[in-house]
């Protein structure tokens, strides 16, 4: 069994009008089955309101399923007694860099999780040091978070989760509020966690180019998984992606347009080099 598994996961919430009367139910997640293997890098794509963030919050037991089940490392998230073990094993990084840093000094923020877990003082310092080094923020350990850039703040948040020694990390649109430079920094740090530390990564985003290094990509739409496969398999279906309100990288789009015009190119081209080489080969 995988490290994260969901079966027939449904999450509904009640809509109320101004007087508090029930207006109806919205199904944010609708019968989702997911099975993530240890060490995998999974990306979940979808436009705003597709249900991807709601799904993510189930993995950290912030939300509890209306129907179906979620297991993290074999533990059922709906069982109250597992909640803290689950949160330690499946760390979570959120979208807004300002609203998740608790400490007034970088190193103290990274130490917050281990403090809550009751880790001895000496070990907290060791964990803080190794986590900050892993995301390349060690030299900023004495800085105030307010003075950091968005990308740096998100890396501190990742270090904060890493210091809890999780088995997997769920990142809920960690780059949505960053500029291109910050986005690159964060994605680089996430890939390093997966490849160097072997941590299972679930990356939620609406930027397709951030997912090309994932092992598997899931595309969500109105609470369901609409597409699933390797990045190449998913990105080869340009029209379907556009229907799902997603932005296809220009290189993939260009390759797709050229194919339509009868140029012999393979499906699902992801990088500039790939396209240039393929075109050079087709001549």
């Amino acid at each position: 069994m995988g490290i994260i598994r969901t079966k027939d996961l449904v999450y509904e919430y009640v809509r109320r009008d101004e007087e508090g009367n029930v207006e109806g139910f919205t199904t944010a997640v609708d019968k989702v089955d997911l099975d993530v293997q240890p060490g995998e890098f999974i990306a979940i794509l979808g436009h705003n309101g597709s249900g991807k963030s709601t799904l993510a919050k189930h993995i950290n037991a912030i939300l509890s399923p209306t129907e179906g089940s979620v297991w993290v490392d074999g533990m059922d998230t709906s069982q109250e007694e597992h909640i803290w073990d689950i949160r330690q094993r499946a760390g979570m990084v959120f979208q807004n860099p300002d609203n998740q840093i608790i400490g007034q000094v970088v190193e103290e923020d990274v130490g917050f999780g281990p403090e809550n877990m009751g880790v001895p003082t000496k070990e907290i310092w060791e964990r803080v040091e190794e986590s900050l080094k892993a995301v390349g923020m060690y030299e900023y350990r004495r800085h105030s978070p307010n003075k950091l850039s968005g990308g740096q703040k998100q890396r501190v948040s990742i270090a904060g989760v890493l210091a809890m020694h999780p088995k997997c990390i769920v990142l809920d649109e960690p780059t949505a509020m960053l500029d291109p430079k910050g986005r690159r920094e964060v994605i680089r740090a996430v890939r390093a966690l997966n490849q160097v530390e072997g941590i299972t990564v679930v990356l939620i985003t609406h930027y397709m180019e951030e997912t090309i290094h994932a092992d598997r990509v899931f595309v969500m739409d109105s609470g369901r998984i609409a597409m699933e496969g390797t990045p190449r398999q998913v990105f080869s279906q340009v029209e379907r992606l556009q229907e799902l309100r997603l932005d296809v990288p220009q290189v993939t789009l260009l390759a797709h347009e050229l194919r339509k015009k009868g140029i012999g190119l393979p499906e699902g081209i992801l990088t500039v080099e790939e396209l240039a080489d393929a075109l050079a080969g087709s001549r």
């Binding site: 949160r87 760390g91 281990p114």
Partner: protein, 267 residues
Amino acid sequence: MLRDITLGQYYQTESVIHRLDPRVKLGGTLLYIISLFFFRNFLGYGVAAVFLATVIGLSHVPFRFIVKGMKAIVFLLLITVTFNLFLTPGTELVSVWKLTITVEGLRTAATMAIRLTMLIIGSSLMTLTTTPNNLTDGMESMMKPLKAFRVPVHEVAMIMSIALRFIPILLEETDKIMKAQIARGADFETGNIVRRAKALVPLLVPLFISAFRRANDLAMAMEARCYRGGEGRTKMKPLIYQRRDRLGYLCIFAYLAIGITVGRLRL
């Protein structure tokens, strides 16, 4: 415009006062403030002044910087002095029109001015040499006995440290909201009090909505990182008394002994 407000500012430098355990500084400041109310003669304030000057010297915080922070309370000081000067009954010294200055009035006014100035310099010296974090840690540790009376000491300390972290963020946000509304023709600076109060609505509504949103996000982030109150929590930076801290306590008690002995002499 709002960023000029400096609340409990910290002055970054290296000094023995900065390194002291926050509990020593908190306790010391408290005792020092109490001592100011015990003196019966000006000699006592002289001792306190020497003590304060020594601490300022050791702290490496420029005196100019401390005085700059005093500007905000000059007004308060003037009011206190004026009231005491004119409204204390006693032996008449000078009388102009309906205003009378008495010997007692002069004495009380002078005492008040000295007391208030030294009180504020002393307490601002504490915040200038202690990081807000250290301060909350110190408070939490000193208030621990109150736990027996069901005072949520840990929670209060946590609230304080979160507030300190978010004050600069919210100030910056207020600035941005103000600009956004000024760009829509809002006017925060003219008109009478009612008009000005009304003008604040477009500022306060977005600010409150944002603050609640942040609080919600933060609570979720804290829970996701296994925060469940003070029980079973360890500390990354536990407070442990060093030799210099014991020395610090000794100095404070020495000051108290000398100050009160001298200060209560009937001259």
